[in-house]
């Protein structure tokens, strides 16, 4: 019996994927999560080159693990995101501010903006988090949490609330993730020494693109309406 694809099942997929991506950026992978990833299915021919490439690389890397793979991955995380073992002190810095501020510094305007968005959504950042709120792991986690809100609203039959939370995700994707993830991924591909982190880069880029396309489809009416209102406002001004 074929399973039905529904907006709700897609929401589950989005939650799970954002959770996985966020976890992989948050810190080095551990044995437990690596074992979890071995149960993963790796889809191909999804229609997005980066998603396909990401899953293929994950599949080939995870199918050929050996006893030091965990160490290799932990070392590569430090190389890619912290800049350890690189002579130029360079890395794929995981904070949006670095990629969007003229001086490539952390804690710039982007951080203030995302912090305001988190607060507006009723979220506050953990006191133990000290890597900047515009860290890719937090931005992906924000998308996961908002997708959970949408799923809960769909379950409760609250269509308006579901739409509103989806709009928040759409704006966040367009204004933030889509604006700097491609640059981050370019850097990841430059510095990564394992296919695992190359896969992560490809999958992140591809998934963010696909998610934006999905939201644009689902929210076409709302986006048009919002655009019309904005046009009227600008005409009035």
């Amino acid at each position: 019996m074929a399973e039905n694809i529904t907006i709700r099942s897609i929401m589950d997929g989005r939650i799970a994927t954002y959770r996985m991506l966020s976890r992989l950026y948050l810190k080095e992978i551990d044995r437990e999560y690596l074992d979890e990833m071995l149960k993963m299915r790796c889809p191909i021919n999804t229609g997005n080159i980066d998603v396909d490439q990401g899953y293929r690389l994950f599949h080939s890397y995870l199918s050929k693990l050996w006893e030091r793979s965990l160490e290799d991955l932990q070392r590569d995380y430090l190389t890619v995101f912290i800049g350890a073992n690189t002579t130029g002190h360079a890395a794929a810095y995981p904070n949006e501010s670095v990629h969007t501020s003229p001086d490539r510094l952390v804690m710039q305007d982007s951080r203030d903006e995302v912090l305001a968005i988190y607060r507006a959504a009723g979220l506050s950042c953990s006191d133990l988090w000290n890597n900047g709120e515009d860290h890719i792991a937090l931005e992906l986690d924000f998308m996961k949490i908002m997708a959970e809100h949408t799923a809960a609203a769909l379950d409760a039959g609250e269509t308006e609330k579901a739409t509103a939370t989806l709009m928040t995700q759409y704006h966040f994707l367009v204004d933030h993730l889509c604006s700097w993830v491609p640059m981050l991924v370019d850097d990841i591909l430059k510095f990564a020494q394992t296919d695992f982190y190359r896969a992560l880069g490809h999958l992140t880029k591809g998934f963010v693109e696909e998610d934006r396309a999905f939201l644009e489809e689902v929210l076409a009416e709302e986006i048009d309406r919002e655009k019309g209102m904005a046009d009227r406002e600008s005409a009035y001004v």
Binding site: I5, T6, R8, S9, D12, M40, C42, I44, R56, W66
Partner: protein, 341 residues
């Protein structure tokens, strides 16, 4: 007399003349770039060749053991443990067990690397189930991706029609999401993926329904990877088999006949279950007149006995089987000597 008459006109400083010389030098340098002066040149040109280790594997293993006297037993036991092939996990567990009373800053992985580099153990790669994976990058799957998605993807509006629950795995769902949305947004422009045909035989399919339309999800499952195995080399086992603790302890005792009684006292004292503490051994021998000049303490004897395998630390100093044999031999000899007397 005018002092200027004493100065030869030719010797006068002419800044322009020097400039010309510099220019000439620069021109020469440009013409013949090989003659650039180098400072810090080594006295003898030595080719930078990789070092070749001329030692035999057994020499390398013995050198490794000598370089880590504190870990001698751990290294030998690890080699011995690999008489039959072991997985990395088994090796980790065994190393941790051996390190319980023998602290080392080296992790189990480092122990394995040291033994592997010395030629004492070797890694047997698991059989490669996907030898043809290398072809993945070159394979072309023209049209597959686009065709699959074109047929499969319902538009997102259709997707939104029905609302049943689905708790599938992240990867699967990500693909579902990607596939479902790509039809309207991107599928038409998708370039066929180069590697799409690579694992064609391993690709699995699942049919999903998007409204009334069927769509096919292609996916690969991560194959369970059989771990490689560590096994001792012939040279490694030869070094282990050549170890004769009994002989080495006997040689130690022969070297210091003056302290024979002290050694025997310690060996005898440590035969008790649970062993003896360092304090107890201090109390046992430190006041002995034999140790007053030169002044020796129990640690001197403990270290030597441990190195040769007569005692070991297991929460307390315990006499090993080798130590007990030495003790038994000496007791027999003493009894025979007494009988003769």
């Amino acid at each position: 007399m005018d002092i200027r008459d004493l100065v030869a006109e030719e010797d006068l400083f002419d800044p322009f003349e020097e400039e010309e010389e510099e220019e000439e030098l620069a021109e020469e340098g440009a013409e013949d770039e090989e003659e650039v002066l180098v400072i810090g040149k080594p006295l003898e040109e030595k080719p930078n060749l990789p070092k070749i280790d001329l030692r035999t594997p057994q020499e390398r293993i013995n050198d490794l053991i000598k370089s880590m006297p504190g870990q001698k037993r751990v290294l030998l036991r690890l080699i011995d443990y690999c008489r039959s092939p072991r997985t990395g996990e088994e090796m980790d567990a065994r190393t941790e067990e051996l390190r319980e009373y023998n602290f080392s800053v080296f992790s189990p992985v480092v122990f394995r690397e040291l033994l592997e580099n010395a030629g004492a153990i070797e890694y047997l790669e698991p059989a490669d189930p996907e030898a043809d994976d290398a072809a993945a990058g070159d394979a072309a799957a023209a049209g597959d991706a686009a065709a699959g998605d074109g047929a499969a993807a319902g538009d997102a509006a259709a997707v939104a029609d029905a609302l049943p629950q689905d708790g599938a795995a992240a990867a699967e769902n990500a693909a579902t999401c990607a596939a479902a949305t790509s039809a309207a947004a991107a599928a038409a422009d998708v370039q066929p993926h180069d590697a799409a045909a690579a694992d064609e035989e391993n690709v699995k399919h699942e049919t999903l329904m998007s409204g009334d339309e069927e769509m096919q999800l292609d996916y690969l499952e991560i194959e369970e990877n059989e771990p490689g195995l560590w096994v001792a080399t012939e040279d490694g086992l030869a070094v282990v088999d050549a170890q004769d603790d009994l002989q080495q302890v006997a040689e130690l005792l022969d070297k210091e006949p003056r302290y024979l009684d002290i050694y025997h006292q310690i060996l005898d004292y440590c035969t008790i279950d649970g062993g003896r503490s360092a304090k107890e051994l201090d109390n046992l021998v430190n006041d002995s007149p034999l140790l007053q000049a030169p002044r020796r303490y129990s640690g001197y004897f403990i270290g030597r006995l441990e190195r040769e395998g007569a005692i070991e630390w297991a929460g307390g100093w315990v006499t090993t089987d080798t130590g007990k044999k030495i003790l038994a031999t000496s007791t027999e000899q003493a009894a025979m000597a007494a009988a003769e007397a």
